[in-house]
């Protein structure tokens, strides 16, 4: 699974460094290092008023904040991996 976090200016100011950190931690906690490829991306073109844009394979999720991070990770990362 490919997860790309937007590190472009708009997302950067809305907290992409925090989201990257949370993702790294979560991947480690769930022992997904072999399954998940984390990388950065300079703007997916879906800039949102709040939060950061994260692309999981072909699905784009906008507005990820540290508050809704767990929900995002469970629904769109863990669930997807389990379904595979």
């Amino acid at each position: 699974m490919n997860i790309q976090v937007c590190v472009g200016s708009a997302c950067h100011l809305k907290g992409s460094p925090e989201i990257v950190e949370l993702l790294q931690k979560a991947v480690e906690e769930h022992n997904l290092q072999d399954e998940v490829m984390l990388s950065g991306n300079f703007c997916i073109g879906k800039c949102n008023r709040i939060g950061v844009t994260v692309q999981v394979d072909d699905d784009i999720h906008v507005g990820i904040t540290k508050e809704n991070f767990n929900e995002f990770f469970n629904d769109h990362v863990l669930n997807k991996i389990e379904r595979k």
């Binding site: 790309q4 976090v5 590190v7 472009g8 200016s9 708009a10 950067h12 100011l13 992409s16 460094p17 990257v20 950190e21 993702l23 790294q24 984390l38 990388s39 950065g40 991306n41 300079f42 703007c43 073109g45």
Partner: protein
């Protein structure tokens, strides 16, 4: 609203704007011969002896705007017919000489080149004079002037001489493409090749960034430019032109600072590699010092490499103050990462070619780099950043002794000292332009407040340390 320092820049801008306008509309081939007359209409000349000469020179400018002479590898070119063949007599006695009693000029001249006529007025015997300028310094009436051509005065690497027709000519083996002569020639007879047509082509072929994405990488000196608008409006303007997104070259500077600090502590002595004109200068004049040139890519190249790693189809256009970057990006080791380079002057022409009035736009955001990456734009910034990077990496037992050279003349002195082992420094920061990149020839304006603007923009960075700025990329 004043966009440029001089009317020469304004004229160059008008040519670029017309060429760009036609290129966007696919009408360049139809209108190319009409551009000179569009800019210089009617029958009365405003700049030269006649309107026809004006138009002939404008045709040459159109050529440069379209990429210039393909046979000439140098990005800096002379427009022969525009060169006014300025007098170049060297030191001459002017009519301010009062024929005084003291004759300090005669005493100071070691060559005995000063003579006096029956009115006691001084004359310089050119067969003896070596142009040292001592006589001019001691004359109490400032009656001795140095009549050198402005281009020659500007070119500190002595690459400019005169050909048999008495117009200026550039020795490509000495030229470092700093652009100093471009900015200083009062006739606009020396100019740089433009790659705006390539940029327009890249944007058009992207089909609104659907075929591939076009990234604008902007140099940190942009903070001192486009002062009639807000920086955020420039960012939005770039997107209006068709760029997918805008990224700070300063983030590449953060990367460079970190690896340069490592390389420095390993090797013990380094000269910086950010300024392409400085690097060329070392290669041409101090071959023995070449091994000391930092192996790091420039910030432009470092960030472009990163962009192409995240998006392999990306096209990258660097926008900066620098004419030498136009030579750098065509080097084989840089070419795969940077697709084209334009200056702030050319960006202004691009905005106006599409009638993008940036003062009317919303403010976009630009934030990738740290304070330290951003201050690379001014002299001394690189050394500050390397010092910070040494600290952040917890490198002990290494004391940075940086020597920041402000302009190519100071670079020359530092390199000379190093070649004779007379310098008490382990890091030479070389900036070919006085003031650093904010003094670059491709800047729209050069003001005294520019350094303060760069520092202010640096302080506004969201990330305060280099590692914070790069942390987000270490995934």
């Amino acid at each position: 609203m004043r966009k440029f320092d001089t009317k020469v820049q304004h004229l160059k801008y008008k040519v670029l704007r017309e060429v760009a306008k036609n290129a966007w509309n696919d009408t360049l081939l139809d209108n190319i011969l009409n551009i000179p007359e569009t800019i210089s209409p009617g029958t009365t000349s405003t700049m030269r002896c006649c309107v026809y000469k004006e138009r002939a020179i404008l045709s040459e400018r159109v050529k440069l705007a379209m990429g210039g002479d393909r046979e000439n590898p140098n990005v800096i070119e002379v427009i022969d017919i525009a060169c006014d063949e300025c007098p170049s007599a060297g030191y001459v006695v002017t009519d301010s000489c009062r024929g005084c009693l003291a004759h300090r000029c005669e005493d100071v001249c070691k060559r005995g080149a000063i003579t006096f006529d029956q009115n006691h007025v001084a004359h310089i015997d050119k067969s003896k004079c070596v142009e040292c300028g001592q006589c001019a310094k001691v004359c109490p009436f400032s009656a001795i002037a140095n009549r050198r051509r402005p281009c020659q005065n500007a070119c500190k690497v002595k690459a400019i001489s005169f050909n048999e027709k008495n117009s200026a000519t550039i020795d490509n083996n000495k030229c470092i493409a700093c652009g100093s002569c471009v900015y200083q020639c009062p006739w606009g007879a020396i100019s740089e090749k433009s790659f705006i047509l390539d940029v327009i082509d890249i944007i058009k072929r992207s089909n609104n960034n659907k075929n591939y994405k076009v990234y604008a990488v902007v140099a940190p000196s942009i903070s001192s430019q486009f002062t009639y608008a807000k920086l955020g409006q420039v960012i939005t303007g770039l997107k209006e032109l068709g760029f997918h997104t805008v990224i700070e070259a300063a983030l590449g500077a953060d990367m460079v600072a970190l690896s340069e600090a490592k390389e420095l502590t390993e090797k013990g002595f380094l000269t910086s590699s950010c300024c392409p004109a400085f690097v060329t200068y070392i290669k041409q004049n101090f071959p023995d010092l070449v091994p000391f040139i930092s192996h790091n890519p420039s910030p432009m190249t470092a960030i472009s490499q990163y962009i192409k790693k995240t998006d392999e189809n990306a096209k990258v256009v660097f926008i900066g103050p620098c004419t030498a970057k136009k030579n750098e990006f065509r080097q084989p080791e840089v070419r795969p990462y940077v697709d084209s380079v334009i200056t702030f002057e050319e960006l202004q022409a691009l905005f106006d070619s599409k009638d993008v009035d940036i003062t009317m736009l919303d403010e976009g955001v630009l934030d990738n780099a740290s304070y330290y990456g951003r201050i690379f734009a001014r002299c001394g910034g690189l050394s500050d950043a390397v010092s910070q990077a040494i600290k952040e990496q917890g490198i002990e037992n290494f004391v940075l002794k940086a020597f920041s050279c402000d302009g190519i003349e100071e670079c020359r002195v530092a390199l000379l000292k190093k070649s004779k082992n007379l310098i008490d420094a382990n890091f030479i920061e070389g900036m070919a332009c006085v003031g650093g990149c904010i003094g670059g020839a491709g800047c729209l304006t050069h003001g005294e407040k520019n350094k303060a603007e760069v520092d202010k923009y640096g302080r506004e960075a969201f990330e305060k340390t280099i590692k914070d700025a790069l942390g987000v990329l270490e995934i």
